[in-house]
C-alpha cells in the first residue's frame, strides 16, 4: 500500500509556491499558519523561560535579595500566564495539530481555513495586549487571578492582561472548533473513526474541552474586568459577593485546560511509540476512548483545586471521588504505550527518547496528582511546592517533552530536512536530567511545607532550592540546543524524503515538504491505523 511518492528535486511545495511577507500573513494554508504559530509560541516560550530563570535565580538564597517582592510576584504571574495561555495551550494543537491533522486525514486543508488564520491573528492580538500589560508594569495576581485580590487589591494592570487572556481564549476556541468540524467532515474516503490516527483522537478530545470550557473562563475574566471597572459585586466579598464562585468558574475551565495541554501531547506519544516500535498501538480502541473519557471526566473534577478553600466538605468528597476516576484513563494510556513496545522492533531515535521521557515523567506527574486527589494529604500539600512540582511534571515533563518529540518526529515533514541526530540525542538527555534535577527536589520541599509563590523562605529550605536552580540551568541548555540545530538543519540538514521513518499514515505518503494542496489526488484509505504489519520492512538509509 505504501506507494510513497518519489521526491522530485525542487518540486513545488507549500514553502516555495510563493514568496513574500504577504503570502505568509494572508495565507489560508494550514501548514503556513502552523509555522506562524510555531514562531509566535517559540517567542512566548523564551519569554516565559526568561521569567522562570529570574524566579530560580531569586530562590537561590532564602532572603529576597535579587528582585523586590513586587517584582517577584509579577515574575511568577507572568511566567504562568505566558507559559499556560500563550505557549502550552496552543503548542501541540496549533502548531503540530494544525500542520499534521489535515495531512493525517487526507484533507486539503482544515474545514475553515480563513477562521484558522483569524485564530492566529486573535492569538497575536491577545498576546500583544498581554505583552503590553507586561510592559506597562506587569501584573501580580498569579495566573489564577483569584478574587478579591485581583478585583480590589492589586494595583497592577489586571484588566489589560485579563482582556488579553480573554481574547486569546477565542483563538483557542476557533482552533478547537476547526479541528472538531474537520475531523468530523473532512476525512478521506475509507478513513473511518476506527482507522483514525490516535493523534487525531486526542486532538479531537482536547478540542471538545476548548469549545466547551474556554467560554466559561472567558466570561469569568470578563466579570473580573467588570468587577474592577464597575464594582458589580459578583466576586467581591465586601459587596456581598462570594470569592469561591470565582474559583468554581475559573477552575471549571482551568482544570480541563490541563487536559487541553496534555491530551494532544498524548497523541504525539501514540504516534511516536507505534512508529519506532513498528507495531500497531496496543489496545488502540482503549487509547482512543481514554482520550474522550479524560475530556469528559475532566469537567467533573475542578473543585479538587479548592479542598481547603472553604467549600463544603461533602462537596469535596464528591470531587475527590470523581478525580480518581479521571486518573484511570490516564493510567490505561501509560500501560498501553508500554505494552506497544512488547515484541516490537524498537529504534532509538530522538522522538522515541522523548517519548520514553514523557511516559516516565507523566507517570510520576499523574501519580503525584493522586496524592492531591486524596483529601487528607491534599490539605497538607496543596498550595506548596508539591503542587508546583506535580504540575511541572505533567506540563513540562509531559507536554513539553511531547511537543519536542512531535517537533523532531515531523520536522522532516515540515521542512523536508533531517535534524542532526547526535546533538538531538544529547539535548533529549539534558532535558530529562535537568528536568528531574529541577523539579524532583520540589516534591520534598512541598511535603516539608514550603508554600508556593514565596519570594523569601526559611533558610532550612535552601539546599533543595539550590539543587533546583542548578537543574534549571541544565534544562535551559537542553532547550537551547534544539533551537540551534533546528535552524542549522533548515540549510544544512540532509534531504528527508517523503518518509524518513518508514512510518505509516497518510502524512508520510505525500512529499516533504508537502505541496500546498497536500495531496495530488485525494487518498482512499483501505487499511487499519498503524498497519505496520503490511508496511514493507525496508532498510532506511536517510537520517542516520
Amino acid at each position: 500500500m505504501a506507494t510513497a511518492v518519489q521526491p522530485v528535486v525542487e518540486r513545488e511545495n507549500y514553502l516555495n509556491s510563493n514568496y513574500g511577507i504577504k503570502s505568509w500573513l494572508l495565507t489560508t494554508d494550514h501548514k503556513r499558519i502552523a509555522l506562524l504559530y510555531l514562531m509566535s509560541i517559540t517567542a512566548m516560550f523564551w519569554l516565559g523561560g526568561f521569567f522562570a530563570m529570574l524566579i530560580r535565580l531569586e530562590l537561590l538564597t532564602p532572603a529576597g535579595d535579587l528582585v523586590t517582592s513586587d517584582t517577584y510576584n509579577k515574575l511568577f504571574t507572568m511566567h504562568g500566564i505566558t507559559m499556560i495561555f500563550f505557549f502550552l495551550i496552543p503548542s501541540v494543537p496549533a502548531v503540530i495539530g494544525n500542520f499534521v491533522i489535515p495531512l493525517m486525514i487526507g484533507a486539503k486543508d482544515l474545514a475553515f481555513p480563513r477562521l484558522n488564520l483569524a485564530s492566529w491573528y486573535i492569538y497575536m492580538l491577545g498576546a500583544g495586549l498581554a505583552l503590553w500589560g507586561f510592559l506597562l508594569g506587569g501584573v501580580d495576581t498569579g495566573w489564577t487571578f483569584y478574587t478579591p485580590f485581583s478585583t480590589s487589591y492589586s494595583n497592577t494592570h489586571v484588566v489589560t492582561v485579563a482582556v488579553g487572556v480573554f481574547i486569546v481564549g477565542f483563538s483557542s476556541i476557533f482552533t478547537g472548533l476547526n479541528f472538531i468540524v474537520t475531523i468530523h467532515r473532512m476525512r478521506a474516503p475509507g478513513l473511518t473513526w476506527n482507522r483514525l490516527p490516535l493523534f487525531c483522537w486526542s486532538n479531537y478530545a482536547a478540542s471538545l474541552i476548548m469549545v466547551l470550557g474556554t467560554p466559561v473562563v472567558a466570561i469569568t475574566l470578563l466579570l473580573v474586568a467588570f468587577e474592577r471597572l464597575f464594582h458589580i459585586g459578583v466576586f467581591n466579598p465586601q459587596l456581598g459577593g462570594d470569592p469561591l464562585l470565582f474559583q468554581h468558574l475559573f477552575w471549571f475551565y482551568s482544570h480541563p485546560a490541563v487536559y487541553i495541554m496534555i491530551l494532544p501531547g498524548m497523541g504525539v506519544i501514540s504516534e511516536v511509540v507505534t512508529c519506532y516500535s513498528r507495531k500497531r498501538a496496543f489496545g488502540y480502541e482503549f487509547i482512543a476512548l481514554a482520550s474522550i473519557a479524560i475530556a469528559v471526566l475532566g469537567f467533573l473534577v475542578w473543585a479538587h483545586h479548592m479542598f481547603v478553600a472553604g467549600i463544603s466538605m461533602y462537596s469535596a468528597l464528591v470531587f475527590s471521588l470523581l478525580t480518581y476516576f479521571v486518573a484511570i484513563p490516564s493510567a490505561v494510556k501509560v500501560f498501553n504505550w508500554t505494552a506497544t513496545m512488547y515484541k516490537g522492533s524498537v529504534r532509538f531515535d530522538t522522538p522515541m527518547l522523548y517519548a520514553w521521557g514523557f511516559i516516565g515523567l507523566f507517570t510520576m506527574g499523574g501519580l503525584t496528582g493522586v496524592f492531591l486527589a486524596s483529601l487528607g494529604v491534599d490539605v497538607h500539600v496543596t498550595d506548596t511546592y508539591f503542587v508546583v512540582a506535580h504540575f511541572h511534571y505533567v506540563m513540562v515533563g509531559g507536554m513539553v517533552l511531547a511537543y519536542l518529540a512531535g517537533l523532531h518526529f515531523w520536522w522532516p515533514k515540515i521542512t523536508g530536512r533531517m535534524y542532526p541526530e547526535p546533538p538531538a540525542k544529547l539535548s533529549a538527555l539534558l532535558v530529562f536530567v535537568g528536568f528531574n534535577l529541577t523539579f524532583f527536589p520540589q516534591f520534598i520541599l512541598g511535603y516539608m511545607g514550603m508554600p508556593r509563590r514565596y519570594h523569601a523562605y526559611p533558610p532550612e529550605f535552601q539546599v533543595l532550592n539550590v539543587l533546583s536552580t542548578a537543574g534549571a540551568s541544565v534544562l535551559a541548555i537542553g532547550y537551547i540546543l534544539p533551537m540551534i540545530y533546528f535552524l542549522w538543519s533548515l540549510r544544512y540538514g540532509e534531504d528527508a524524503g517523503p518518509n524518513p521513518w518508514n512510518a505509516v499514515g497518510l502524512e508520510w505518503m505525500t512529499p516533504s515538504p508537502p505541496p500546498t494542496h497536500n495531496f495530488d489526488e485525494t487518498p482512499v484509505v483501505t487499511w487499519e491505523a498503524y498497519d505496520y504489519e503490511h508496511q514493507p520492512q525496508e532498510e532506511i538509509t536517510i537520517g542516520h
Partner: protein
C-alpha cells in the same frame, strides 16, 4: 458539474404555515409566562417560568433552527452541550447547597 448537488431535495423546506404556527405559540407562551408570574405559586413560580422558557426554547431550536431536520450529529452536539451546562450548575451547587450542613462531628 461535480460540485453541484443533483438532488433538489437536499435541504428541508419548512412550510410558512408551520413557522407562523410556532410564532403564534411562542407569543401565547410569552403571555402565559407573564400572567403566571402574577399568580402566587411559591416555588412553582420559578418551575413554571423555566418550564415555559424551555418549551419556547425547544420550539425555537427544533423548528426555527431546523434541528429537527438536521443530521443526528447536530442533535447529539446540542444535547451534549446542555449536559455540560448542567454539569457546571449541578456540581457548583453541590458546594453551595451543602456548605451550611453541620460542620460538627457526630451531629
Amino acid at each position: 458539474m461535480k460540485i453541484i448537488p443533483h438532488d433538489d431535495e437536499y435541504t428541508h423546506v419548512i412550510p410558512p404555515s408551520l413557522y407562523v404556527g410556532i410564532w403564534a405559540t411562542l407569543m401565547v407562551l410569552t403571555l402565559i409566562t407573564v400572567l403566571a408570574s402574577f399568580a402566587e405559586l411559591g416555588i412553582f413560580n420559578i418551575v413554571l417560568a423555566l418550564l415555559i422558557a424551555t418549551i419556547k426554547g425547544t420550539l425555537v431550536v427544533l423548528f426555527f433552527m431546523h434541528l429537527r431536520y438536521s443530521p443526528k450529529l447536530t442533535m447529539v452536539a446540542v444535547i451534549a452541550s446542555v449536559c455540560f451546562l448542567l454539569i457546571l450548575f449541578s456540581l457548583t451547587m453541590t458546594d453551595y447547597l451543602s456548605r451550611h450542613w453541620a460542620t460538627f462531628p457526630g451531629r
